[in-house]
Symmetry: C2
Subunit: 368 residues, 2 copies
C-alpha cells in the first residue's frame, strides 16, 4: 500500500471506475487467506462452501439494496451490457418484435444488435437533438404486439438519465420494460412495478469489470430462442443459480464487498441523496460558468455521468494535464463525443466533486 488514504487521487473514469477504498483494502488483506480458509477467493472452487457463502451473501445484499421483489430472479452473468444486447432479444423476443427508445449511444447499440434476432423498431429517438433531451413517453410509437420495450435508463456517454421510469401500462402497453441500468444501478431506487428486466455491467457502480447483473421477472424466464447459447439462457442460468458455467468468482466477491459498503453508507436512498448533492454542485458550477458548458437539458441530466466541454477546446489538453497533476484522473470525454466527462458514481465522495469544482474554477480563472 504505497499511497496513504489521504492522498489517493480522485478517479472520474466512466468504467471500469473507482471502487471504495475500504473495499480495496479488505480485498488486499484477504488476498492470501479468506476468513481462515487458507485460500484466496480466486482459488476457491465455485461449488465449495466458502464461495457459495460469498455468493449467497452477495445475492441477499443486492436484493436488499435494490429492494428486488421475490418474483424477480437475480443472475450474475458474463459479457457486459454489449453481450446482453444480444442475450435479451435471444431470451425475450419469442419471435415477435421489440421497441427501442434511442436516447444515446448505448440504446442505439442495443437497437442495432437486436435486429439480428427480431424485428426491432425505434419507438422514439433523440438523435435529431444530439441526445440532449429525453422523449416524452406519451409520444412513443409502441407496437401492440411488441415483445418488450427497451430503454437505457442512464446513457453513460451522452449523460442523460430517466428521472422516472415510464409506466408502460398507462401507455396501453402490456409488454415488459427492459432497462439497461449499467451506469446508475444502486445510485437511486428502482420502481420494479414498471420493470420486466434490468441488466447492467458491474464496472461502474457495483464493482469490477467481468460480471453482469441481470434482474428478471420470473414469468420472462423459459422462452429463449433455439439459437440462444445455453450459458446465456436466463432459465438455465437461474436454475443453476448463476453456476451453469464457472462464474467470475473474484468479480462477484468484490461486488459483494461493495454491496456491504453501500449498506454501511445507508443504502440506496442515502446514496441517492449524496448523488443529488454531488451532481448539483457540479452542474451548478458549470451552468454559471462562461468557460465550460454542458449541453443536456437540465431535467434530463444524468447524476452519474457529466459530460462537459471547454468553450475554447484548444485548452482541453492543458486542462487534462493540470487535472492529472492535481490527482483528478480520467476526465477525458468519450472519443465519440469529445470534450470532458466526470463520472461521479457511488464510490466518488462529495470531496472529490468539490476538488473538481475547485480545479474548474481555478483553471477558468487562470486561463481568462
Amino acid at each position: 500500500m504505497t499511497v496513504p488514504a489521504s492522498t489517493r487521487p480522485y478517479n472520474f473514469s466512466a468504467g471500469p471506475a473507482a471502487i471504495p477504498e475500504e473495499v480495496l483494502r479488505l480485498a488486499a488483506a484477504e488476498m492470501l487467506d479468506w476468513h481462515g480458509s487458507g485460500m484466496s477467493v480466486m482459488e476457491m472452487s465455485h461449488r465449495g462452501k466458502e464461495f457459495i457463502s460469498i455468493y449467497e451473501q452477495a445475492e441477499a445484499d443486492l436484493r436488499e439494496l435494490l429492494a428486488v421483489p421475490a418474483h424477480f430472479r437475480i443472475l450474475f452473468m458474463q459479457g457486459g451490457g454489449l453481450a446482453e444486447n444480444a442475450i435479451v432479444p435471444l431470451n425475450l423476443s419469442r419471435g415477435a418484435g421489440a421497441d427501442f427508445v434511442v436516447t444515446g449511444s448505448w440504446s442505439q447499440k442495443s437497437f442495432k444488435e437486436a435486429q439480428k434476432y427480431c424485428p426491432a423498431r425505434i419507438a422514439a429517438s433523440t438523435q435529431a437533438d444530439g441526445h440532449t433531451t429525453l422523449p416524452d413517453p406519451a409520444s412513443w410509437r409502441l407496437e401492440r404486439q411488441t415483445a418488450y420495450v427497451h430503454i437505457c435508463s442512464n446513457e453513460t456517454i451522452h449523460g442523460v438519465e430517466f428521472q422516472a421510469l415510464p409506466d408502460l401500462k398507462t401507455l396501453g402497453c402490456d409488454a415488459p420494460l427492459v432497462i439497461d441500468f449499467s451506469s446508475h444501478v444502486a445510485s437511486r431506487p428502482v420502481d420494479w412495478s414498471r420493470v420486466g428486466l434490468a441488466f447492467g455491467g458491474a464496472q461502474k457502480n457495483l464493482g469490477p469489470a467481468g460480471v453482469t447483473l441481470v434482474v428478471v421477472r420470473e414469468d420472462l424466464l423459459g422462452h429463449a430462442l433455439p439459437a440462444c447459447p445455453s450459458a446465456f439462457d436466463y432459465q438455465t442460468v437461474a436454475d443453476n443459480r448463476s453456476m451453469y458455467n464457472t462464474p467470475p468468482t473474484w468479480a462477484i466477491y468484490i461486488a459483494g464487498l461493495t454491496f456491504q459498503w453501500l449498506k454501511k453508507q445507508g443504502g440506496t436512498l442515502a446514496m441517492e441523496q449524496r448523488n443529488i448533492a454531488k451532481a448539483r454542485l457540479l452542474y451548478d458550477f458549470i451552468d454559471q460558468s462562461q468557460f465550460y458548458v454542458n449541453k443536456v437539458v437540465p431535467s434530463c441530466r444524468s447524476r452519474m455521468n457529466v459530460p462537459f466541454f471547454l468553450r475554447d477546446e484548444s485548452r482541453s489538453e492543458a486542462f487534462l494535464a493540470g487535472a492529472n497533476e492535481r490527482g483528478l484522473l480520467q476526465l477525458k470525454g468519450h472519443k465519440s463525443v469529445g470534450g470532458m466527462r466526470a463520472s461521479i458514481y457511488n464510490a466518488m465522495p462529495l470531496a472529490g466533486v468539490q476538488a473538481l469544482v475547485s480545479y474548474l474554477a481555478e483553471f477558468e480563472k487562470f486561463q481568462s
Copy 2:
C-alpha cells in the same frame, strides 16, 4: 496476510484453482496503487494507457510462453468453456457439420451444444469404456465436408489427456482441429501446426475465473453465422483487440502476472518436466497401492487431473476430513464420477504432491 508462506495449505481444486503465491502477494501489494498510477487495476479504464500496457504485456508474454505463431490471433473473452461450446460453432461451422471426439464430460457437452448450430456428429467415443481410454485417430469417422473437428485435449473430470495432438492431414482431413485445452494449457507445449483454434477458461492453469483464452488461426476469422452475438464474433473481438466490450480487466491482469511467473519458472518446457515428475509420483503411488485405484489406462492419463477412488468408499469421508486437517484442500471428486480428484496444475509445487502422497500412505496404513 494472516498465513505465512510456509504454512499455506495445498489446494487441489479442479478450478478455480491454486494461483502462485507470488502472484497473490504482488496483487495484494499493488491493490491500491498500480505502479504509481494511484489506481487499482480494477479502477482503470480499459482504454487508458495503464491498462493497455497491462494487456499488451499479457498478450506478448502468452504468445511467447505458448509459442503462438504470428498467423494466430490471441483473444481474451468471457463466458468460459461452456460459452465457447456455442461460440465455436457460431463462428466456425459456416453452415456445414462438425465432428466431435467424445472422451469425457467436456467433449460431450461441446457436442451437445454444437447441435444447436450445425449438424454435429460423433466421430469417435469412449463412452462404452467409461472414458478410461482415448480412441485411435485412425479409427475416427471424419466427414469429408466437416467444418472442424473438436477434441477436448485434457478432460478435467475423467482425467484423460491426449499425449499428442492428432494430425488431421494424415487422416485425409483438411478441416481445422479445435481443441478445448482449458485444463492443461501452458502445462506442455502445443503443436500449432495441427491446430486451427484452441480455447480455454483461465481458471485452472492461467489465473482466475472470468476470462477465456481463444487462440485462433487468422483464416478462420470472419465467418460467423448471423445469429452470433457481436460480442462473441471472433472477427469483431480480434479487430478490437478484445475490447469490443469491456474486458474482464482484473482477470487479465492476474493472468498476466501468472504468465510472468511461468516465464520465471523457465516457461512451458520447464513446467512440462515438473508436471511429468508430479504426475509420475502420484500415479506410481496409486498404482502400487491396494487401497486406492485410478481406472484410466496409463498411456491416456492426465498429468493435470488425477481422479482416484478408495477401494472401500465408505472411508471417503474420513479421508477427506483428514486431508483437510493436514492442509490438503479440495480433493473431493466431481459429483458426476464421485471419489477423489487431485488437480495438480502448474501452480502446484512438487512438495504439494509429496505431501499428498505422504498422506495417502499414512491413511492407507492407518486404515489397514
